[in-house]
């Protein structure tokens, strides 16, 4: 019987010819990712096993959540990671100054290859499906144990097939695609399932769009999101990945549990209202103006160079509205550097944005843009749960960099075409 991309990937890493949805299997992992929040508890579990790390070249450690250290406790956590890296000679560690937000950084550094399988102690690890890899978020215990064994168990997920048709219109991006999908299937619509993207529309999506889309598979409850390997993937990986790899394509007779079609031509800018990513509306349908206090442009969802280009395109020659804070956070040091060389940072500064060094910071209510009671933020991040970005009575509206930038200028949730 035919297999989906995810089934084939799992079979390959379990060393068997065939797997089917529902089966429990054990897989070799190609890499394990941890951050400053999830590493210390993983280390505790790892130490209990009493074995050395399975491969010091396959452990990726990125201090990004509360770094540059926001307080003494965060500094202690980051130090636990740094000390371990020094002791064990871990190859892939990224110090502040070379650091980026993990899911922006790892693809950019060529650390994820098509057809590979990896886990990360961060729920947005599902991002790498954009590169035709299988990747999923796990807890610290899973990561700590895998750090010793190089293996982990999975239940082979059923797969939802999402067929993309057409091409995205102007001012519409990958963020709108994934918000539209979550709005349709709900925050548990893909619970325990893989989301496989297919169709002629895939070719028109940039790698940045695909990374954004897979990043939020978890917000529909998904185990992973995955794209087919094509010319866009090949071009992205060229000069980044230095090892050989074997992409995976779905069999023509693969079996899917559900099929969804999204017509990209007809898509409009989407915004998810508080307090769930499934509460989606088209910006054009908002009747009463929704005034805002803050805008965040960045995160593992939308902190890539292309996202900053999109925001800058809207913000150029405009000013952020009075009493609105617009905070731009490039997703990695390379993104920051390129944005500076290409004049994007200048556009942001001229528009009165605050520009930060890479950090997850405000996305999860850490620091660098925490909100007071009653405040509202339009954010390019991934979650708008109650209290996520600060006070329990603050509100987060999720949107694309285009909508976020337009909203910063207008002082209310707005589309780029409204900016004169």
């Amino acid at each position: 019987m035919g297999m989906t991309i995810t089934e084939k990937n799992m079979a390959r890493h379990a060393g068997v010819d065939q797997v089917k949805a529902g089966q429990i299997i054990e897989c070799q992992v190609d890499a394990i990712l941890m951050n400053d929040i999830t590493f210390p508890p993983a280390l505790k579990e790892f130490r209990k096993i009493g074995k050395p790390v399975f491969d010091k070249n396959k452990i990726y450690l990125v201090p990004d959540h509360f770094t540059p250290n926001k307080d003494i406790k965060s500094a202690e956590q980051a130090k636990v990671m740094r000390d371990f890296v020094k002791e064990e000679g871990i190859m892939h560690y990224f110090e502040v100054g070379r650091m980026g937000i993990e899911h922006v950084l790892l693809p950019e550094q060529g650390l994820i290859a098509p057809g590979e399988l990896m886990i990360g102690a961060d729920s947005h690890t599902c991002t790498y499906g954009a590169l035709n890899a299988f990747s999923t978020g796990v807890g610290s215990t899973d990561a700590g144990v895998a750090m010793a064994t190089g293996k982990t168990w999975f239940k082979v997920p059923e797969t939802i097939k999402v067929t993309l048709k057409g091409k995205l219109p102007k001012w519409v991006s990958g963020k709108d695609v994934i918000l539209e999908l979550i709005g349709r299937i709900g925050v548990d619509g893909a619970r325990y399932k893989a989301i496989e993207f297919a169709g002629a529309g895939v070719a028109s999506l940039t790698m940045a769009d695909r990374l954004t889309i897979c990043n939020m598979a978890i917000e529909a409850g998904g185990k992973c999101g995955v794209f087919p390997y094509d010319e866009v993937t090949k071009a992205y990986e060229e000069g980044r990945v230095r090892r050989s790899y074997t992409p995976i394509e779905a069999d023509a007779d693969a079996s899917y549990c559900e099929e969804v079609t999204i017509d990209l031509d007809a898509l409009k800018p989407v915004v998810a209202f508080p307090h769930l990513p499934e509460n989606t509306h088209y910006v054009a349908d908002i009747e009463e103006p929704i005034a805002i206090d803050q805008v965040i442009i960045g995160s593992c969802t939308n902190g890539r160079y292309e996202d900053l280009v999109a925001a800058a395109e809207v913000l150029k020659d405009h000013k952020v509205a009075d009493f609105v804070r617009c905070i731009v956070i490039p997703g990695s040091q390379d993104v920051y550097n390129k944005a500076m060389q290409d004049g994007l940072i200048d556009i942001f500064l001229q528009a009165d944005c605050a520009v930060s060094t890479p950090t997850c910071g405000p996305c999860l209510g850490g620091y660098m843009g925490i909100m007071a009671a009653g405040e509202r933020c339009v954010s390019t991040t991934n979650r708008n749960f109650r209290g996520r970005m600060g006070h329990v009575d603050s509100e987060v509206y999720l949107a694309s960099p285009y909508v976020a930038a337009a909203s910063a200028i207008m002082g209310r949730i707005a589309e780029p075409k409204e900016v004169k």
């Binding site: 429990i24 929040i37 999830t38 210390p40 508890p41 579990e45 209990k48 096993i49 009493g50 959540h65 509360f66 926001k70 307080d71 406790k73 965060s74 202690e76 956590q77 990360g120 102690a121 961060d122 729920s123 690890t125 978020g137 796990v138 807890g139 610290s140 215990t141 899973d142 700590g144 144990v145 010793a148 064994t149 168990w153 239940k155 925050v187 548990d188 619970r191 325990y192 978890i218 409850g221 185990k223 769930l276 999860l364 209510g365 850490g366 925490i370 979650r383 749960f385 109650r386 209290g387 996520r388 600060g390 329990v392």
Partner: protein
């Protein structure tokens, strides 16, 4: 019966950020962290929860982050078992891995209301509403996962292999 007690009742899509707000994540001690458990949707929980009590919730419990702090603070708060319509995938896996009992009984969970007393037999996968006298069959765990749970979590399981 493995567990028996009065319940803390919550709705659908209880996310990891309300179970333990990320603003406290620099705290590494689970007992200390547990004093903030659930506070964004229930300010009484952390003060009033008693050891052995059971949490009952709707669908997609624990959606959001992969941070193990979420099941860990619930365990540290004294809750013995969570009964839900369904769990988010990573939360479910984490709960098993750290030795917090979880059981899914589907939509019938709606019949179990705040104030009821509930019993759980994990071996049989049964949930009893002791207030109404009704019994609910939960989804059985696959043998591999039962073995992890029986070992007391993933670390013990991995050490024993």
């Amino acid at each position: 019966m493995d567990y028996q007690g009065t319940i803390w009742r919550y709705g659908d899509n209880v996310d990891t950020d309300v179970i333990i707000p990320a603003r406290y994540l620099a705290i590494a001690d689970m007992e200390e962290l547990a004093t903030h458990a659930m506070e964004d949707i229930d300010t009484t929980f952390a003060q009033k929860v008693k050891p052995g009590q059971i949490m009952v919730a709707g669908k997609n419990f624990g959606c959001g982050s992969s941070r193990e702090h979420a099941p860990a603070v619930i365990k540290a708060s004294g809750i013995s078992c969570i009964v839900a319509d369904s769990f988010a995938r990573i939360f479910f896996r984490n709960a098993i891995n750290i030795g917090l009992s979880v059981i899914e009984i589907g939509e019938a969970v709606k019949e179990i209301k705040a104030g009821h007393e509930v019993g759980v037999d994990l071996g049989k996968g049964l949930v009893y509403d002791l207030t109404t006298g009704k019994t609910y069959q939960g989804t059985a765990l696959p043998p591999f996962i039962q073995a992890i749970a029986k070992a007391g979590g993933l670390v013990n399981f991995a050490k024993s292999r």
